[in-house]
Symmetry: C2
Subunit: 208 residues, 2 copies
Amino acid sequence: MNYLEALSRRYSVKKFNHQLIPQETLHNILESGKLSASSLGLQPYKILVVESEEMKHKLIPAFYNPSQISTCSHLIVIISKKTIDENYIRGYFSHISEVRDIPIEKLDLFKNSISQHITQKTHDEIFNWAEKQSYIVLANLMYAAAIENIDTCPMEGFRQDLIEEILDINSETEKVTVTLALGYRSEEDHFQHMKKVRKPNEKLFKFI
Amino acid sequence: MNYLEALSRRYSVKKFNHQLIPQETLHNILESGKLSASSLGLQPYKILVVESEEMKHKLIPAFYNPSQISTCSHLIVIISKKTIDENYIRGYFSHISEVRDIPIEKLDLFKNSISQHITQKTHDEIFNWAEKQSYIVLANLMYAAAIENIDTCPMEGFRQDLIEEILDINSETEKVTVTLALGYRSEEDHFQHMKKVRKPNEKLFKFI
C-alpha cells in the first residue's frame, strides 16, 4: 500500500474493535512522533501514552464523544508547554552539545538568538506557537499509523479542566492540546463506508 | 526506504541546489496535503504553490533567512482562514451532499451542531484553531516529501505584512500561517551532516 492509498483509507474512526496494537507497531508510530520537526527544534511538548484500561476508563467522562476512548487500543495525549524559560533553553542546548559533541560555548550565538526570539513573544504567542508544533506531532502520528494500517481518531472535544485533573497536568505550565485514539476500526462503524470529502483542487490549491 | 528512515534523513534544509521537483512527485506531495485530516472536516485553509522564479524572487525580502527561497524548487504557502461564516459552512455541506449523494436536509443536524460549535468560539479561538489545522497540512506535506526523498524546510520566519502584500492576501479574512520550501539539498549545506537532536524518550514520552 503506498502512502496516498494509506491516507485515503484513513478516516476518523468513531468506534474501534478493542483489539490491541502490537508493541512494535506502536513503537514505530511513536518514533514518527518523536522525529517530528519543530520550530527551532525546541519540541515544546510531551507525549502521554495511555495504555492501561483503568486510565482509559477514568478518562471517559472527559470526552464529549467517548465511544473512541472505550474501544481504542491506545490513547495518545499531546501536552504543550505554556512557557519556555531560560532553564528549558539551557537544557536544550546542553543536549545539543552532548549529542553533536560540540563544546557548549560554541553554541552561544545560536542560544542567545533563540532566547531573544522567545523572550520577545507574549505569553499567548508562545503558547499558540507551542500548540502548533504539537499539531505536527499529531499529524506525524496519524500518518505513520495510516502507513502501518492502524486506524486513528484525532479529538479536540474534551473537557479541558477534567482531562487535566485526571491526568494530573500542572495547568500553570502545560496544557492538553489534542488527543489521538489508535486501534482498529469496528466493523459496525458505518463512517468507514462514507466517501471522503475534501475541497476540490481549484478551491484548495493556487499555483502562482 | 521505510518511513522512519525517511524521517531520520529529513532535516530543515538551509540551502537547496536549484533542481526542480518532477511534476508527478509534486502532485503526490500536494495530494498528501489535500488528504490531511482537519477538525470537523472544515479545512480552514488554502495552499498556495509558488513555482514561478519571478514570484520566488519577489518573496525573498519577506524572509529573514532567504537562502531557501532563492534555491528551492517550489515554495508552499499555507494560508489560514481568520473567520468561518455561515456561508462557508453552507458551502461545505452542499459539497458533502454532492460527494456523498445525500439530500442536504439529511445533513441539517450535523450542520447545525457545527454552526453552533463555531459561533460559540471567539474570533481568536477560531483563528488559533484554523492555524492548528494548517499545521497538520504542513506536517503531511513534509512527511510525503520525506518518503519521496524530497527535501524540505518549514519556515515561520517571515515579515507578515510584506509576504501578505506580495501574495495579495486579504488580511481581513486570511493569514499566511507557515511556509514550506521543497527541493533537493545542496551539497554545500553542512547542516545535513549534523546529528539529529530529539529529546530522549524518557523526557518526551510517558506511559500510563
